[in-house]
């Protein structure tokens, strides 16, 4: 019986050893990341992987709900002017200094002051009190943005965060080396180190970004695609309101081929400003292209050729602009895509930064110079948000086209991307990845 038991134990061990590595996380190894564009500056919030180094007080989970990160608990006064955050205990910066309200306050205040000059922070122990002279219901959404990450810096280290990886070496424009932060409050990451290079080519990288419009659209075999939640809205912005013309143009544009072909089905057709996951009502704006109606609308107009400005060196934007010009041509509207500024239409790439629908819409209204419409938005009443967005779309000054995610190609060595997706659907989270030897 004992022998039989030992035999079973031995067989079980052999079976367990033969299981694929995917189901058994592995510590160690170096993850190589290749980026084609962007910055490697570890201190830049726009860095693709900045979340690996620095963390924000709160973050948005896969369901779009704000959840604790460096802050465990928060409260606000009924008027949304005063917020109180209790910081997570036993969190250290990469240089070993414990996270405290006093150490977190300077970077946070600097970030908030850039947008909200009336912001003040009172630090005490593990408590941060952020106060504004006006109501700030969108503060939580604001605090999910990488710009409000809690970081420190010294003369020798430009960025000292609390994230799962710490900076080891940085060659501006070429290479960024990170190593696992052993004292990370969430537990040591699986990876020993991460080496991020810029512009070296994806041939041997474990992870590489896939910008839309690049030649990497057809990815190598055995490559999995990691796609974030929509991070960008591609839209047409008219310099001057020309209601009938833009209405006709909106009807002429067929977004489906753009999504299917130009984004390789990785984008989403945008009929509203806010994506469905963010607003919950975007499907209400959905319309089908109607060339006949578009032609009818402009039949009485004498239309000159319209110039459409798209960003230079942006091949994806150019492809979208060309397709729109083609759709417009079918409706009898002549559009000339150009990289010269000052076109009647501009193809804009609007970054979707906030997890708060109201904050995102207000930010966009401010950008469009329609701030007065923002006053009618009550974050607690989704219908006001819908009305404001519908009014914006009815102006036909902005024609939403597509939402774009961030795309990364993951090589066969890389595992556990699903968990990374669940933890942060907006950015590729290196903390949960592990690699084969």
């Amino acid at each position: 019986m004992r022998l039989r038991a030992w035999a079973w134990l031995a067989l079980s061990s052999v079976w367990a050893a033969s299981l694929p590595g995917a189901i058994r996380p592995r510590y160690g190894g170096t993850l190589t990341v290749e980026l084609s564009t962007g910055t490697l500056d570890p201190a830049s919030p726009q860095g693709h992987l900045s979340a690996a180094i620095a963390e924000t007080l709160v973050r948005v989970n896969a369901r779009g709900i704000v959840e604790p990160q460096l802050a465990l608990i928060w409260q606000h006064e009924p008027d949304f002017k005063r917020w109180r955050f209790s910081l997570r205990p036993k969190v250290n910066f990469h240089d070993g200094e414990p996270l405290s309200a006093a150490s977190a306050a300077p970077a946070l205040l600097t970030a908030l002051k850039k947008k909200y000059s009336d912001a003040t922070i009172t630090a005490g122990g593990q408590t941060l009190i952020i106060q504004f002279e006006r109501a700030m219901p969108e503060l939580l959404a604001e605090l999910t943005r990488p710009e409000t990450a809690i970081v420190r810096k010294t003369d020798t280290n430009p960025v000292i965060g609390t994230g799962p990886f710490r900076l080891v070496a940085w060659e501006p424009g070429r290479r960024l080396s990170l190593t696992a932060f052993e004292d990370y409050w969430g537990g040591r990451p699986f990876l020993d180190s991460v080496v991020i290079t810029l512009g070296a080519g994806p041939a041997r990288a474990d992870v590489f970004d896939i910008p839309f419009g690049s030649t990497r659209r057809v990815v190598p075999e055995n490559t999995r695609i990691w796609a974030s939640r929509p991070r960008e809205l591609i839209a047409l912005l008219a310099a001057n309101p020309q209601s009938t013309l833009l209405q006709a143009l909106s009807l002429a544009i067929d977004r489906t081929p753009i999504v299917n072909v130009l984004t390789q089905r990785r984008g989403e057709a945008a009929f509203g400003v806010l994506p469905q996951w963010l607003s919950g009502y975007a499907f209400l704006f959905q319309t089908a292209p109607d060339i006949a109606r578009a032609r009818q609308l402009i039949s009485q107009l004498r239309l000159p050729a319209i110039s459409l400005t798209y960003p230079a060196y942006d091949s994806f934007a150019r492809a979208v602009a060309d397709r729109i010009a083609l759709n417009a041509r079918d409706a009898g509207i002549t559009i000339q895509p150009t990289t010269n500024s000052g076109g009647s239409l501009t193809l804009v790439r609007w970054p979707l930064e906030s997890a708060d629908a109201a904050a995102e819409l207000i930010r966009l209204l401010g950008f469009l110079g329609a701030g007065e419409r923002a006053a009618s938005i009550d974050p607690s009443k989704p219908e006001t948000l819908f009305e404001a967005e519908r009014a914006l779309l009815d102006d036909h000054r902005l024609i939403p086209l597509i939402y774009l995610p961030e795309l990364y190609g993951l090589g066969p060595r890389v595992h556990n991307s699903e968990a990374a997706q669940k933890r942060d659907p907006f950015r590729l989270n290196l903390e949960n990845l592990w690699v084969d030897p």
Partner: protein, 584 residues
């Protein structure tokens, strides 16, 4: 208007005309030869260029066919065909495949389309994915179709391409591979035209011609002509020769026109040069003619003009004028002969004057003898009667003496009258000029003769006055004028002893240089012979039995003193007309 053309002018005109015509003929011939040569050369160059174009067209066609074949056999396209046939793949991933493949094969056009003609990938217009190329679905055997011209729609407008199509089996369906190269300026640039030639493709047949560019208008006309009936056609303008070669598509529709422009600027420059040279040579010829005419004038016409001047001097009464003799040629000989003739004329004139003087003295003597003899004879008879009466009958002497002295006094008065008449002629006074109405003078004079004309015992004289209304006044001595007119009227009346018609006529004569008036006195008498007319104004010459021969001499003297002229025209039996012309 024009006076006589001088010899120098004739020489100048002759030389100029000869030179100009010669130069014009030479310039025209040279210009025509050059034009023909240039046009022949243009034609040859155009033919060479067109031939070169066709060769290049064929070469590129073969190249396009080869490249499209290579694409059809490429791994990418074969895999696409395979995937299309084996599964419902998402063709989206191939949407930019055509660009890369076309770039590899240096093709400007490449479209990959599915069985229904939907574009999977387009190299020339990537945004057209999903659109349908219906022309691919036409029932055409693309294998045998070869390479053809095709009008391709692009984002920046239509373009012309050398196209060919390959069909690949994709399971139950097809994969169309339509590729080609652009037929554009770059294509034409591979055909370096000769200097002065230009070659271009015309695709917009309705492009408006520039209103101020003749070549543009010519091209527009040529395009429309070829458009109506496609064929090779040439038009020649002043600046350019245009040759249009129609480029036809698969189904023979006109897609473009190859326009070969041969500049005629070089020809125009050469023509201008020839014209300029002709002008220079012609001008030089004219200048040469001018110089030659002056030389000829100095050698020929100047002696002739001097001779002519001498002739005019002699004719004007300067009998001492002599033509200079400066050469021994014909002109010099002529001058010598003229001088000799003039000297002979002077001698003859002197002799004639002397003879006329003698004749005049004789005539005067005869007239005086005749005039004086008539009174002298009664004087002699009377005196002899007195002497006989004294001797024969002294008692009747007193009565005879009284009668004789009366007769003597009468005859002496007669002698006195005759002498006075001669004396009057000898001392005609200078005219005292004043403004005179000639018509009034005529009226006054005629009035004096009215009693005589209307006297019942005379044969009937009809008086006719034809006086001009618009007669200008003349500067004349009215008394002398009346006297002259009286003499003419008296002569006319004397010429019509049997009656007749006396006509007095005044007339205004407006010449280019001066204005004159004319006065004519006509009779219907016996008339005069030409000899009588010639001597009519000679003093003491008369055709009348009792005339003194001074009447018409006085008339001529008056007219001459008034710078006028008197003429007579007459034929025997048809009366005579005396005409006086005076300056007004």
């Amino acid at each position: 208007m024009g006076g006589p053309v001088s010899f120098r002018t004739k020489v100048l005109l002759s030389i100029t005309t000869t030179v100009v015509i010669s130069v014009w003929i030479v310039a025209s011939v040279v210009s025509t030869l050059v034009t023909n040569s240039f046009e022949r050369q243009d034609s040859q160059r155009t033919a060479a260029l067109v031939s070169q174009f066709r060769s290049e067209f064929d070469r590129r066609s073969a190249e396009v066919a080869r490249r499209v074949d290579a694409i059809a056999n490429s791994e990418t396209v074969q895999r696409l065909a395979l995937n299309l046939g084996t599964s419902k793949i998402d063709t989206a991933q191939y949407y930019d495949a055509a660009q890369a493949v076309a770039k590899e094969q240096s093709l400007n056009f490449l479209e990959l389309a599915g069985s229904d003609g939907s574009i999977i990938s387009s190299a020339e217009w990537p945004a057209r994915f999903g659109y349908k190329e219906t022309w691919l679905l036409q029932p055409i055997d693309w294998k045998t179709q070869g390479v053809f011209l095709q009008r391709e729609e692009l984002a920046d407008g239509p373009a012309l391409g050398l196209m060919t199509v390959r069909m690949l089996n994709a399971g139950d369906g097809l994969l169309y591979v339509a590729g080609g190269q652009r037929l554009d300026k770059a294509f034409l640039d591979s055909l370096p035209p000769a200097p002065g030639m230009n070659i271009r493709l015309v695709r917009d047949f309705d492009a408006p011609a520039s209103s101020d560019d003749p070549a543009s208008k010519l091209a527009a006309a040529l395009i429309q002509n070829v458009r109506q009936r496609p064929r090779e056609l040439s038009f020649t303008g002043s600046d350019v020769t245009l040759t249009a070669i129609p480029l036809l598509g698969r189904d023979k529709q006109l897609l473009a026109i190859l326009m070969v422009e041969n500049s005629r600027a070089e020809l125009a420059n050469l023509k201008t040069y020839i014209q300029g040279t002709a002008w220079i040579v012609g001008s030089a010829g004219v200048m040469l003619g001018l110089g030659f005419s002056f030389w000829a004038a100095s050698r020929v016409t100047r002696p002739v003009r001097e001779l002519a001047s001498t002739v005019r001097d002699v004719a004007g009464g300067n009998w001492d004028a002599r033509a200079p003799v400066e050469s021994t040629d014909e002109v010099g000989q002529l001058a010598e002969d003229f001088n000799r003739m003039t000297e002979q004329l002077v001698e003859q004139r002197d002799r004639m004057i002397q003879a006329e003087r003698v004749a005049a003295w004789r005539e005067l003597a005869r007239r005086l003898a005749h005039e004086l003899k008539n009174p002298l004879f009664p004087l002699q008879i009377t005196i002899e009667n007195l002497q006989r009466a004294r001797q024969a009958s002294p008692e009747q002497f007193d009565e005879v003496f009284r009668e004789s002295t009366t007769t003597l006094l009468a005859e002496l008065d007669n002698l006195k009258t005759i002498v006075g008449r001669f004396s009057d002629f000898a001392k005609m006074p200078a005219p005292h000029l004043e403004t005179v109405d000639l018509n009034q003078v005529v009226h006054e004079v005629v009035k004096l003769f009215d009693p005589q004309i209307e006297a019942p015992d005379r044969p009937r004289i009809q008086k006719i006055l034809q006086l001009a209304d618009n007669l200008s006044p003349v500067a004349a001595d009215p008394e002398q004028l009346r006297r002259a007119l009286r003499n003419l009227v008296l002569n006319a009346l004397d010429a019509m002893p049997k009656g007749g018609t006396l006509t007095l006529r005044t007339q205004r004569l407006d010449g280019p240089a001066e204005r004159k008036v004319a006065l004519e006195v006509s009779d219907t008498g016996e008339g005069l012979t030409p000899e009588e007319c010639a001597r009519l104004f000679t003093p003491y010459y008369t055709t009348k039995q009792h005339g003194t021969g001074l009447g018409l001499a006085i008339v001529q003297s008056v007219v001459s003193d008034h710078k006028g002229a008197i003429t007579v025209r007459s034929e025997p039996g048809k009366g005579a007309t005396f005409r006086i012309e005076l300056k007004s």
